[in-house]
Symmetry: C2
Subunit: 200 residues, 2 copies
DNA sequence: GTTGTAACAGACCGACTGGTCTGATACAAG
DNA sequence: CTTGTATCAGACCAGTCGGTCTGTTACAAC
């Protein structure tokens, strides 16, 4: 086999991810992705058939990392305590504790950038996002069901989805205010709200 | 005075708002805005100096309507009950009751589209968004303070911001899943979480 | 060394972009 | 009826866009 192209592909994905998260998909030109990844037109189109294909690869990689992150946190929460309510709170707390780190690594969420463009979604880019959302929903619903076996008038799926909603909404709030500490503070608020629900 | 250009300007803003909410700012071309508003290049650039100027006008109009909506709901909540906790719940409930209507009128939020593009934000488009966020924060913090005068380890500003976060996050969730009912369900979830907090 | 091919480089292309410019048109004031 | 101007129409322009094409280079197999 000739040269190994994998590192180049990763460099392109890294640069594209940063640019798309910062400025959105349509506002990110391939010329800029190519320049910032120190690549070339020929190289880019050798690895990706089109810009849309790049978007699909970006989302696939991002969603896989997201789900891996979720599963690590789930495992840690399960190992940390035998009390079901405590597990829920530990789970949320683990994201709260790493929120500042997260926000210094990325200025927003790739999901937001991709979902903002409806025509892009309709070209089949959002399947992996839905997978990730379902994984978060089911993971947290499991923890919540153990803590609230007979919830009074609550849909635990919605309560579980609310954590994803908090993440995405907090990204927007951080961007609007220019203050990345809102991510940690919103995760803290949602933990305290969950705590109120579980300790009633 | 010659012809009245105000209706044309509004038609352009209406078309642009729908297109930008659907597909984002960069992905929305002026040609398309002009076509869908049944206008022309000359007409467009008579009313707006540039595309960025259009963005600023869009956000200004959208934020003003947003704040007006907030103030109506605040007044209604205050009129509806004397109990402070009840006022908070009524306030959230009013958005829950109109959520389906909201989602049939718009597929997402203009704030998301505009904030997604950092370079656009840096060109001074987000000032009005911050105003709106502060208005929501202060309005709801007022209601919460009356219900929880001495909150134990809670930052009521963050708890108040959480409603805005829920709105924005739910817009993302709706777009990802293609299911607009998530808006109502997330507002219901956050109301139930607030209820748990207030009735502890 | 020859050869085959994945990996890369960059000139080039048509389509479309935001924006300009010239001119036409409606309408109120005198 | 003339005139001034806000409003509008659309041909046009330079630059950028995603994408193509031709060619070169590195490396493994033989």
């Amino acid at each position: 086999m000739p040269r190994n192209g994998a590192p180049t592909r990763e460099r392109i994905l890294d640069a594209a991810e940063r640019l798309v998260i910062d400025n959105g998909y349509a506002a990110t030109s391939l010329d800029r992705v190519i320049a910032e990844s120190h690549s070339s037109k020929g190289s880019f189109f050798h690895h990706f058939a089109s810009k849309d294909e790049l978007a699909r690869a970006l989302v696939e990689r991002y969603a896989a990392a997201d789900i891996a992150h979720l599963e690590t946190a789930l495992a840690e929460a399960n190992a940390a305590s035998d009390d079901a309510a405590e597990r829920v709170l530990r789970f949320v707390r683990s994201f709260e504790d790493t929120a500042d780190e997260l926000m210094s690594a990325q200025s927003s969420c790739l999901y937001v950038s991709v979902l903002t463009e409806r025509e892009l979604v309709e070209r089949g880019t959002s399947g992996q996002v839905t997978n990730a959302i379902v994984a978060w929903r089911e993971g947290l619903t499991g923890l919540l069901q153990a803590a609230l076996p007979d919830p009074p008038g609550l849909d635990l799926h919605d309560v579980a989805d609310h954590l994803f909603v908090t993440f995405e909404g907090a990204f927007i709030l951080c961007r609007a205010t220019g203050d990345p500490s809102h991510m940690r503070r919103q995760l803290r608020a949602v933990r305290q709200l969950y705590q109120a629900l579980l300790s009633r």
